[in-house]
Symmetry: C2
Subunit: 340 residues, 2 copies
């Protein structure tokens, strides 16, 4: 099904959408009771390889909240797992590697994704069968810094010290790891496009732990290559947290839309990027503060976006927090559709 | 002892120091074997109320690393504990409150510090007896947003959702809490000044979780009041993490020196603040990357600072990470003294 008239696609291409498009990062998952029910007894990473289940989880928030896009339920380590990397997702902690990747030999032995992840392709078909023509499916693509940090640290890290140490003490090893990772990320993106995603978001969640010089030297070339894969085919959204200082560099990687976290004003963001469309900016913690507080922030963001003369896809400045009340999310979507 | 000729004091007042002054946030504590030894079997918060011990811990990094300042070994909750709040520091987690502070009654019942913390005053005397006239003692002052977040959340929080919810849904309660906290913070600062600190740093570690509008409305008035207490008496340093978007507002609170984390270039920081002196900017993760990498970053920071024409106190852009090798810290100090 083509969704070229979906409000989110219109907005991504800088045209005027029929209503203010909104989706929330992490809208699928932990904040929804129906998610907890279908995931019961099923390992997180396993669920990303079960077509019916991943489709159901992807669709749940679309049905419940009336958001304008589904985000493919997946995880940043899915293509690595499919390629043969020993990784599991530990509840309450995140992806943990059986063996960290730190040496030339480790990098040379890192498998590259060389086959179709059929379960994901099948899941995308099921999702597209249910989505209407005004709804879009956004593909999930993990970015190389965040993925490399998991591999080097061996799991989630608060300060990414081993990752940065490798970067600065053995830059040739860092670049070898990026060269090894990038084809896997691109393969996963190609597969999602072939299966029918309508847009894609590159999640570089942790890029904000780098300063601009490091980002430009160690990350930008690879993100550029990944984003180029989708150029002219589907709208590309590029997102990271705490990236106020990186927005200019990140926008040089090439995308139609730049994601903005909740720390940066939309006015400041618009001046820093070369994209004509911004996404995000609503503080996820505000979903705990009641509808009046949400409405006030929606008005603030709208006035900044209007003043800057850019397009806007509504979203949070970070993912939905785990303890968020599901009804508060639905009401926020309605507020945005009415006043955004 | 007067330390008015100490390089760090000279630099803080915008004069030319006899050598590039350097100290590291969290230089005292967990990264040092001699710290682990003296703390053995002693509760963290208890140690902040033991004059000989807090002095010893404060002095250990000065002896070992040849840094230009001691930072008073303390904790943000020390004045609350002294005032009578039930709080303990849980190893590996941080300060945990016996009961969170969330209602009008909770706030009205929050004790205010009304007596001298004699153990800290005695500790400061012991420290000053050992410091030379080229070394300075920096007082430790916790800022209201970070402190309020501990009280409202009941402990350390990743997303500060209850804190922000209170701020936005019951702003009058938020301001009442700030009015109740500020006198305790000011009292602790006054006591440290009376006991002989040579400079002070206001640690608002978590302010970077706020956007600028929220910071200005909910935090700035109180930080301004706290910093005004020390105006014209000792140099004031103001610091938070992830505060790129807040530097302008934070510098309006009034200080001689603005702390800069590792994400913002010194050039960008200099343009955002009204202070003539910056502090920080070295990524703490670089202490894991070897001396060459540290030297390269020191040169980068120095060239940015020189180009911006501001003064500089060398420091990390965040605290020393727990697993940092103590010798790497010593060598970084030497590199800064030689090339900074």
């Amino acid at each position: 099904m083509t969704t070229r008239n979906a409000p989110i696609i219109e907005a991504a291409y800088g045209r005027t959408p029929s209503r203010p498009p909104v989706w929330f990062m992490r809208q699928a998952g932990r904040s929804l009771p129906e998610y907890k029910k279908v995931r019961e007894g099923i390992d997180m990473l396993d669920s990303c390889f079960m077509p019916e289940l991943l489709a159901e989880i992807t669709l749940q928030p679309v049905r419940r909240h009336d958001v304008d896009a589904a985000i493919l339920f997946s995880d940043i380590v899915v293509p690595l797992k499919a390629a043969g990397v020993d990784v599991e997702i530990v509840p309450g902690r995140g992806p943990v590697m059986d063996a960290p990747v730190r040496t030339e030999a480790d990098i040379a032995n890192l498998p590259i994704l060389d086959h179709e992840i059929t379960e994901v392709a099948q899941g995308i078909q099921i999702i597209n069968d249910e989505l209407t023509e005004t709804q879009a499916l956004i593909g999930f693509v993990g970015a190389p810094f965040t993925l490399a940090s998991y591999l080097i640290e061996g799991g989630p890290s608060k300060n990414h010290e081993r990752t940065k140490a490798l970067m600065h003490s053995q830059p040739q090893l860092w670049h070898a790891l990026m060269e090894r990772l990038t084809p896997t990320i691109i393969a996963f993106l190609e597969q999602q496009m072939a299966a029918g995603i309508d847009a894609m978001q590159l999640f570089d969640s942790w890029a904000g732990f780098l300063n601009e010089a490091d980002y430009r030297e160690f990350v930008l070339p690879y993100s550029t290559r990944i984003l180029a894969t989708a150029a002219g085919r589907i709208p590309r959204i590029h997102f990271g947290v705490g990236t106020g200082e990186l927005l200019t560099a990140m926008s040089e990687a090439g995308s139609e839309v730049m994601g903005v976290d909740y720390r940066v004003s939309m006015d400041a963001a618009a001046h820093r990027v070369n994209t004509k469309v911004l996404q995000g900016n609503l503080d996820p913690a505000l979903l705990f503060a009641g509808d009046d507080a949400v409405r006030k922030q929606v008005q603030r963001i709208k006035s900044e976006v209007d003043a800057a003369g850019v397009g806007h896809i509504w979203n949070l400045g970070h993912g939905v927090l785990p303890t968020t009340d599901a009804d508060a999310i639905t009401r926020a979507v309605a507020i945005i559709h009415n006043e955004g």
